[in-house]
Structure formats: C-alpha cells, structure tokens
C-alpha cells in the first residue's frame, strides 16, 4: 500500500519530457519532488506563474510570490508571471499538457467531484472546473477510500460534480487505473496489495484483464 509520497512518486513517472504540468493542492504538489531531473518540464500554477521552482529557503520567502495553494515558492530561470485571464488561457487553450489533481469521488465514466459537500463543506472549485473541462490529460491522485472506508471510485458520483467524463487515469494508495468506456481498468497494484483488496475497495465497474503487475 502506498502513502501520499508513494502516490506522488508513481504519478511522477507519467510526467514526460517537454510537458507543462499543473499540480493541484495536496498530494499533487508533492509530485514535483519526484520528477526525473534529466527531462525538461515546467510547472504552471494557475494564480500566475510558469516555471515554478521549489519552496524558498527559510528567510527568503516573498509575499508576492506564491502558488495556487497560497504557499511561498520560487521562480526558476526562464519563469514568467501573468494575470489570471492569461493563466486560464494556458489551461483552457490546452497548452498545459498534464493536470494532476485530488478528488473526493471519481465515477467509472470519468466524472469527478472535489469541491463541495452539500450542507457541510463548500470550499469552492477554484480553478478545478476550468482544469478538468479543458485538459486532455488528467490524472487524479487520491486515496482509494475515504476516511469512513467507503470507496471513492464509484458507478456514479454522489457529490456535486466538478466535471464530466474528463478523468483519464487514477493513482491511489492501492492501484493505478485507467478510465475506459468499460469502466475502471486496473493497470497496476500497489506493493503488497492484492486484486481482492482492490476489488473490495472499488464500487464502480472494475475491468481486470490478464496479469496485473505490481508497481515498480
């Protein structure tokens, strides 16, 4: 079973040379730490920076330089700053190659819910609705089940949607799955996780074909 760092590490393998990548808050933010250093990648943060670097050294924080999670960051050589409309031109115009974000629920059709629990919590969608409606390549990073132990991979989402038919791949603490027209297609098991465990934790339709390798 993976922890959040393991999930981030596995997703980092999906980041290819020449990719512009938008990382959501939470586990996705950790992905940057695990991307190969021999490829050219740029991170975009929708509040207005391309070429985002690591967190600053203590004492070098700049209040005018944050990411979409409101964390202090740095800019790499070759970075640029821009306004919010331009930032979403990058996203909506499909110039960003890969979007990685968290979710509360994903359906077997690729629907995603991650912004609202009616009557209990409304943080807002931030940039997530623009991201999922625009990106060709969306990976969800999340735990396979919620704190109550219920599956987050469902036949239909029960929470208000963020976007429809948009998620392409899911990496959880238990597995890597593609969203296909037949349902969640199991690609890899997390170390020491059995197919039975994954079956038990998945409410939506699960497609298992042939041998399912353990992630490396």
């Amino acid at each position: 079973m993976l922890d959040k760092f393991g999930i981030a590490k596995r997703i980092a393998k999906e980041v290819k040379n020449g990719y512009y990548v938008n990382l959501g808050i939470g586990i996705p933010t950790l992905v940057a730490n695990f991307v190969r250093t021999d490829i050219e990648v740029e991170f975009q943060s929708e509040n207005g920076i391309l070429g985002m670097g690591p967190f600053p050294f203590e004492g070098e924080e700049d209040a005018d330089l944050i990411n979409a999670g409101k964390q202090t960051i740095t800019a790499l050589p070759g970075a640029s700053y821009f306004d919010s409309a331009t930032s979403f031109s990058m996203i909506r115009g499909q110039h960003v190659d890969l979007t990685i974000l968290g979710a509360m629920e994903v359906s077997e059709d690729g629907d995603i819910a991650n912004w609202k629990i009616p009557g209990r919590m409304v943080k807002g969608m931030g940039g997530a609705m623009d991201l999922v409606a625009s990106a060709d390549n969306i990976i969800v990073a999340m735990m396979h089940t919620n704190k109550a132990g219920a599956s987050k991979l469902l036949k239909h989402c029960s929470l208000p949607l963020t976007g429809v038919r948009c998620v392409k791949k899911i990496v959880t603490n238990l597995a890597v799955l593609d969203v296909t027209k037949d349902g969640f297609k199991l690609l890899e098991r997390a170390p020491n996780v059995s197919i039975e465990q994954i079956k038990a934790a998945t409410d939506g339709r699960l497609v298992i074909e042939g041998e399912i390798p353990e992630m490396i």
Binding site: S45, E46, N47, G48, I49, P54, F55, P56, F57, E58, G59, E60, E61, D62, A63, D64, L65, I66, N67, A68, G69, K70, Q71, T72, I73, A75, Y81, F82, D83, S84, A85, S87, F88, I91, R92, D111, W115, K116, G119, M121, V122, K123, G124, M125, G126, G127, A128, M129, D130, A133, S134, P160, L161, T162, G163, V164, R165
Partner: protein, 233 residues
Amino acid sequence: MITKTVNSIQEALEGVSDGMTLLLGGFGLCGIPENAISELVRLGVKDLTCISNNAGVDDFGLGLLLQNRQIKKMVASYVGENDEFERQMLSGELEVELIPQGTLAERCRAAQAGFPAFYTPAGFGTEVAEGKETRAFDGKMYVLEQAVKADFSIVKAWKGDTSGNLIFKGTARNFNPNMCGAANITIAEVEELVPAGELDPNQIHIPGIFVQRIVQGSNYEKRIEQRTTRPQP
C-alpha cells in the same frame, strides 16, 4: 497626459456606498488592496456584493469586512481559508455565488473589453451551468457566461504613474489587471507612485485608460498565508 492621482485612500473611495457591487483584486492575501479594504471597514458601508477570487482569512483581507457584516453577497472561486465565512454561509447570513476561477477572470476581462458574453467549457455538466445556456461547438459542450460589471473595481499594483499606468509584481498580479476597467470607476492603490514618463511604456501591464483614480498606498503588511520553506542547504 490625463492625471488620475488622488491624495488619499479616502478620496480614492469617494462614492462607494451601501448596496454597491465591488470587484477586488488579489489571490488569497497576495496582491490585495490592503489600504482600500481598511478604509471600507472604517467607512462601514454595508450590504456590499464583493467579487473577488477569495474571501480573505478570518482577520485579514476581505475577512475584515465579513467580520464586520458589511458583505451581503460574496462572489468567489475558492473560500476555503475562512471560518467566519463558512459560518455565515452555512447559517444563511451570507449569500454566496461560486464561479470557476478561469470563468471569473474572463467575466471580468469581458466587462473590461466590452464583450457581453462568451462560451467556456468550464462547469459544463455541473451546478455552475444550471440555468445557463449550453451549446456544442465542434463536438464539445460549452456554457454561456456573461460579463460581470461592478460599480467600483479596486486593485493593488506595485508601481503606477500619475496617468494611471500600472505595473504588478510577481504573482501579486493575478486578477488585478483583469478587473481594471470592469467597473464604472477603477481605483488603483500602488506601492510606488511615480510621475508620468518614469515607467517604460513597453513594460506597462495596464494602460491608464482602464484606471480612473490612483493613490499612493502605505504600510503594506503583505501577510503570507502558507509560509512554506525548505532548509538551507
């Protein structure tokens, strides 16, 4: 050149009154018009509709207006950092409209640029599209969104000149340029106000035509929401 300078934040906010709609720049606490928000608190204007990406934190930014019950309706994309906000919203004291961030930015720009409406993919198939026209272009579905125009637009810039030209800094730029000119009157508070001619015309982010009043700000706190660092090597 047309002079836009006013001498105080009081003068800058002249005409702001109860029930008005305000656009306010900033992302989180980054690039917010701190001086203007303080003055709005002092003025005590109420029943405001505030349109801003976030709602501040409990004791800073727009959170100050929330604490003071000056906001009737909040229009934002993300409000997750503010307990008082959540309390007022869940209790029904505060009207809330949540808008996808890119849609919010473009609705401001549409008002600035004189477009009444545009089609965007964001929010199709979700609550956000309810009651709105949807339409296919080239096989993909889009939602019709309208320009959002306010009574006042209040922004914060890094440098500005007496003609109203503005330059922003780092990610404190965010919504600020998009909100300029999206209201009847746009007010810019700046960290450094210089005479017209001192800014390179090639490096101006927002030409003065989009700004009606510009004022030298002071005492910027620039509070950091999530101070995140790595150890010195």
